[in-house]
């Protein structure tokens, strides 16, 4: 148990529980009672976790990441990919992320990357668009 992290974590859960409990009071009858009770229970557990950490937690920091830079790159590129899906289309955005993310993580073998991206996108296209016929976000060039 790491003291500072668990106090913050417990406080977040307690606040979330209290918010849910207060919000639930606006719902009529049993529709509100159940989530209100759950909110209060969540807040209580949040307080217990924070209190336990405060009383018995270790002061030594527990790393939240093994390699912060790579986590940040993955999260940023991942978020960028999701943002680009509706703009560029599913397959274009997917091909880009398969090419870009390994490079951002230090993998630099252009031919390997290009072949992998092409083969992988072709497999996904075959499975989802040809076999399963699932509608996916339209490619940007198809809108012209």
């Amino acid at each position: 148990m790491e003291r500072r992290q668990d106090i913050v974590l417990g406080a977040i859960f307690a606040a979330l529980g209290l918010f849910a409990a207060v919000k639930a009071t606006a719902y009529s009858g049993a529709s509100g009672t159940y989530p209100m009770v759950l909110g209060l229970v969540l807040a209580a557990f949040g307080v217990i976790v924070a209190a336990k950490a405060g009383l018995r937690g270790r002061a030594t920091p527990r790393p939240l990441t093994e390699h912060t830079g790579r986590v940040a790159v993955t999260v940023i590129v991942g978020a960028g990919y999701l943002a680009l899906v509706p703009i560029l289309g599913f397959y274009t955005a997917s091909a880009l992320v398969v090419l870009a993310l390994p490079v951002a993580l230090g993998f630099w073998q252009p031919v390997y990357l290009a072949v992998t991206a092409a083969v992988f996108v072709a497999i996904v296209w075959t499975v989802f668009s040809i076999v399963l016929e699932k509608p996916l976000p339209t490619e940007f060039w198809q809108t012209f």
């Binding site: 009529s28 557990f45 976790v49």
Partner: protein
Amino acid sequence: MDIVTQVLSGVFALGPIAAMIGASILGVFIGALPGLNPVMAIALLLPLTYSMEPLVALGMVAGIYNGSMYGGAIPAILLRIPGTPAAIATTFDGYPMAQRGEAARALKIACWSSALGGTASAIALMTIGPILARATLAFGPAEYFWIAMFGMASIGVLVGTDAAKGLMAATLGLLLGTVGLDQLSGTARFTFDQVWLLSGLDLIVILVGLYALPPVIALAEAADLKGLSAAQLKLEPAKVPWSEVRSLVPTWIRSSLIGIGVGILPGAGGNIAAFLSYNAAKSASDDPDSFGKGNPVGVAAAECGNNSDNAASMIPALTLGIPGNVIAALVLGALLIHGLQPGPQLFHQNPGLVGGFMVQMLLTSLLILAVGGAAATKIFAQVQRLPGVMLVPTILVLMAVGVYVINGRVIDLWIMFVAGLAGYVFEKTNIPLAPIVLGLILGPMAEQNVRRALLISRGDVTELVTRPISAVIALATLGLILFPIVAAISRRRRSA
């Protein structure tokens, strides 16, 4: 048509057979790749099963589950890297055997042990499941409510290292399960005037985020740029003599029984079954010092133990709606996708489907012998030549496509992403994920049943605990919650 014919005709149709074979092969691949795990694979698979026949979908789940539990032994033996958490105990003796040049022999023993453990577990599911389902027909709304609470409490307390955090996660799951239109009164709860929230948070979207994104980030952190060389994965052919097979029989029987027992307990998983089986084999051995130095009995015990947990964990899931482990929770998700409510009624309303799934668990256990043979294992070992860094974007794309096709909404991609980031932080801060998922699954069931029970009793709360069965389950739930507190107090007294 009698039930046996109905089950067999369902299972032995082309679609379910192809699904079982394909998924078993895929499962071994997934298990063989460190960083990937069956939970993640099944979470990614579930969105694709919406348009499939239930037995095709469940056959795929069974194949991936059983296949990957064996697949985890391949890197555990060759490289001392467990492909899945359940294969940790396999490294103890598997890797020393590989160092002695006996990798192929260790893999063969692991393959047979996995198949036997899985088969024993499936037989337990087929025999105990229907009996338990019949016994639970006496349950009313109050009992169902307490069953849900018992499941939540057991997962919350037993999974993870801190009971308070486990119960906090379970409550969060229950609360998330209330988002959307109240099914009894039609009141919109926690929707913040967003139309897309009226139908609630999609279970599969949350599941994919929670279980697939944290391993993806972990793969990115490891940044494996090379994969392994062919020389590292070379296997010499080996034979296991009949006398050795016979000597392993007691270990297989003991480990199967341990794995089945652990599987039925909600909250305990394959890794616990493997450790317990390994320790039991060591205790029973005439030469316990040889364990950890390449004793094939150690490999047999660990692999048989972790596979015999598989189908047994479905016993409480299918009969009571309480999953024995996270994969059983995913199976519940698969059933819900197809409009099937887990619980005792499932056995009576869909006997062909439940029976079919139980047979699929059995067949996919036996399939390990075919797809995990010596030649196949050599091929599966080669997947470790893939640079881990290439898996990061490809899994991300599979997550996105899987989530998008559920409702065709971009917002689901973001919900999945946020759930995944939360899952990553939760894992790092020792907040278990399984109780959150279970809360989402059991939350609506718990709420509907407690409100129904109170309607029947005209608001009399004592009705929830005065019926004999509900009183017993309520007491068991209370005992589970109090157990860590009592244990902590007695520990402190002893140390003082």
